[in-house]
């Protein structure tokens, strides 16, 4: 799964390059070539030119709303101050306690908030 260049990736890249240029030229033809010219060529069932302007505007407004929406979703999914999610979670509740060995670094674990508070705020005499 490395991001190194491969022959298949080069082919995909070139195909995407050609496809995007084709799509862009097609969009320009749809937006700028007069309808009568398109009709004379036999292309009568293309969408209204209104959409050639409307779709980019819709896209940009959606991007702008997306910024605000993401901010709002973040605010809504923050745990409220009275929820237990600010203190613990499923992994911490189910953790197993490893035995304490002398002279060894203690195993990594989630320390309960009461213990943390005592260590920080009650001075050891």
């Amino acid at each position: 799964n490395s991001p190194a260049p491969l022959p298949e990736r080069a082919i995909y890249g070139f195909a995407l390059f050609l496809g995007s240029w084709f799509g862009f030229i097609l969009y320009l033809i749809w937006a700028y070539v007069p309808e009568t010219w398109l009709f004379s060529l036999g292309l009568t069932y293309w969408p209204q030119k209104y959409w050639a302007v409307a779709l980019p505007v819709y896209l940009l407004v959606a991007v702008g709303i997306g910024y605000i929406l993401l901010f709002g979703i973040n605010m809504m999914s923050t745990a409220p101050l009275n929820s237990t999610h600010t203190i613990t979670d499923n992994y911490a509740k189910k953790q197993q306690h490893k035995k304490f060995q002398e002279e060894a670094i203690p195993a990594l674990r989630d320390i309960p908030i009461s213990e943390v508070n005592r260590m920080f705020f009650l001075p050891e005499k």
């Binding site: 923050t78 745990a79 929820s83 203190i87 508070n117």
Partner: protein, 188 residues
């Protein structure tokens, strides 16, 4: 004995903490926020009345002015009775429980009592609140099934939001009383 110390809230407003020791196992800690300032009240009233006068000048309808006066009066009464908390106090009685009282500016007091059997611990927790990380004191309630678990978190001093130095004082006072539970478990 009572002592009062000045601190600051999380937003910078001056608050005062008053500690009273009623007996060896009973303590009362009260945090008082700033009173309603005359200048902010005048500013809000003037802003509403100027806006109403502007609307009246546009619409030539005199009901706008009466409505503005009405809204100002009702708004002030609602604010004083439901929103503006003057003092929040914590009464910790060693063997009995913890009582949390909020006194509103209109004189209303709202009280909650949590009995000691339900209280697991009183801790200072930090959490994200409105694009800030704040410290706040909270009571952890015991989970009846799981002795290590926490069933509920009750945040305290929500409207005055003291800073960490004030919270440490309150925390130390509460812990002195809560420690007596472990050393003297005579009642079942």
């Amino acid at each position: 004995m009572a002592e009062e110390r000045r601190f600051r809230s999380a937003s910078g407003a001056p608050i005062a903490l008053r500690r009273r020791q009623h007996s060896a196992s009973c303590r009362e800690l009260a945090v008082r926020g700033p009173r309603l300032q005359l200048r902010s009240l005048s500013a809000a009233t003037s802003a509403v009345w100027l806006a109403a006068y502007g609307l009246f000048a546009l619409s030539e309808n005199s009901m706008v002015l009466s409505a503005a006066i009405f809204i100002t009066l009702i708004g002030l009464i609602v604010y004083l009775h439901f929103v503006k908390i003057d003092q929040e106090s914590l009464l910790v009685i060693g063997s009995l429980g913890i009582q949390v009282t909020s006194s509103y500016a209109s004189g209303k007091e709202s009280t909650t009592f949590i009995e000691m059997g339900q209280v697991k611990d009183v801790v200072i927790n930090e959490a994200i609140h409105m694009q800030k990380v704040i410290y706040y004191l909270c009571i952890l309630l015991q989970d009846p099934e799981d002795p290590q678990g926490v069933s509920e978190v009750v945040p305290l001093f929500q409207s005055s939001k003291p800073r960490l130095d004030c919270l440490i004082e309150v925390y130390k006072s509460c812990q002195e009383i809560l420690e007596q539970r472990k050393t003297a478990p005579q009642s079942s």
